[in-house]
Symmetry: C2
């Protein structure tokens, strides 16, 4: 919006698309910021106005997801069980992904092909669990319940997202998350 | 045992101890294999007979843990619920850690201080979840139940291990794992 977008309409989206294409075609390590900007028909300067480096193209979404989930936990109705507070927040946060199945799938393949990116992804997920546990404690959930509900929620998200992004299920992400959470409850009912 | 140990009694243990000391004192990046060997009163050649590199000192245990857990799942009694198969395997595997609380605590601090090691640790835990899910599927547990039980088990282990290694609980690791699993079941009972 405003001045910038009149000259560079949807620069961020074009840069992201160009980066994902190049990472898929040539590999992440072999791709430079100059090439991404060129493919997007933009300048390097514009790239760095939107992203700190080429890795951030893959991970800025994780920061947005974390903020959205923490807000979802803060705003969940009182009286919900901790695991359902997390479930509610996860389902609400799926609006961030919209219908971007193809891009999510492409991104997963890029991350999976590179141990450094894979490590980064797992660090982000671990940080997410810590942030969710903090948000639960702020609601008065004691430990270890807060940590366990947070870790369980991240596990549900991870598995549901993999299933959704792999294209093996055709249903919306929010529904796949709801199903995975129900399945986790069944699984942990145990004996 | 055998020839080597007559000349280098408990070389592996001495190298591990020396490495943990140096990583704590100087930082992981600042420590060389030559310094570790010297501190242990051994040669670099002996170091490389026991470890591929200085990182493996911190992670060889993860490979042993995975083998032990997969075996525990294979050998668990028939008829147990998947989550209890995992729980049984986790509790049995704690024999690997014995009374090494101090070393575990030191190792946790070293890994937490270094993003590369942290990423490596999380990759190992993610690989562990994949291996446990495979072992459950081999017992006939379908997906997503197998993946969810495996991820939940790894979450229980991670949280129980952190509590145990932090020294905030004085009970044996196997007991802390049992308690965390019971707590997870309560948490996921939800509404």
């Amino acid at each position: 919006m405003g001045f910038m977008s009149r000259w560079e309409p949807n620069a961020r989206g074009r840069l992201e698309l160009a980066a994902l294409e190049l990472y898929s075609e040539r590999g992440y390590d072999q791709t430079t910021v100059a090439e991404i900007a060129k493919r997007a028909g933009l300048t390097e300067r514009t790239f760095f106005r939107h992203f700190a480096d080429k890795r951030e193209v893959l991970f800025y979404g994780a920061g947005m997801l974390q903020q959205r989930l923490v807000r979802g936990i803060d705003e969940a109705p009182a009286g919900l069980a901790p695991i359902d507070v997390v479930g509610t927040a996860l389902e609400a946060a799926t609006e961030l992904f919209g219908e971007r199945t193809a891009m999510a799938q492409q991104r997963q393949a890029i991350v999976a092909a590179n141990p450094e990116l894979q490590g980064r992804e797992l660090i982000k997920l671990a940080a997410l669990a810590v942030a969710l546990a903090d948000a639960l404690r702020a609601r008065g959930v004691p430990d270890p319940a807060a940590s366990l509900a947070a870790e369980a929620g991240v596990a549900v998200f991870k598995i549901a997202f993999q299933r959704w992004a792999s294209g093996t299920v055709e249903r919306p992400l929010s529904q796949v998350i709801g199903e995975s959470l129900a399945e986790l409850k069944t699984v942990t009912a145990g004996n």
